[in-house]
Symmetry: C2
Subunit: 111 residues, 2 copies
């Protein structure tokens, strides 16, 4: 998967309040689909779709345990989004000299 696609999926996954709350909930520890759905007025199917989006973005990993599915925070994939924003902020603050500057700040092959 190209870097751009990683960023697309990561930012898109974060662009929903329900999903951001799911991430925060998972920060407390693993939870099943049912446990995740409980605080929201939402069907289990709906919750599972959100988890799937987060999983596709690499922000969450899941594993079937018995008849339920354990969801956990994924690896630190968010680092990609973080570093893009960090780059952009430097550009905003210092008005760096455009694209060239990006490559001095990161080792990625596409911005």
């Amino acid at each position: 998967m190209v870097q751009q696609e990683v960023l697309d999926r990561t930012f898109a996954a974060l662009a929903d309040a329900t999903r951001r709350q799911i991430l925060i909930r998972l920060g407390q520890g693993p939870a099943t689909i049912g446990e995740l759905a409980a605080p929201f007025d939402m069907s289990l199917t709906g919750m599972k779709k959100h988890v799937h989006v987060l999983e596709n973005a690499g922000l969450v990993t899941t594993e079937k345990v018995g008849r339920s599915r354990q969801c956990r925070l994924g690896t630190e994939r968010l680092e990609d989004a973080m570093s893009w924003i960090r780059f952009y902020q430097r550009l905003w603050e210092r008005r760096l000299d455009g694209l060239d500057a990006y490559f001095t700040l990161t080792k990625e092959d596409d911005q």
Copy 2:
């Protein structure tokens, strides 16, 4: 606009490679819709829509100058997204004690 909506729009605006490139381009200085569209194989109307999304997210401001429209980087609205990610990362790293922790890290009224 509620904090959640700000985050929704900001992350959604960033979830598109074209728009991220527009931001980086505008880091070099102001540009018109036509200038922004030039490097992309895209209609002016299409480009204008992207600029509109960025404008709604507060990431870009525009102003009609003569017959063209000048686009500039907006105010540092990205700070909201940045601070959310920063919070989330601390949670991820330290496995903080859930939602309560959020309010110790920020002054926002909704996470």
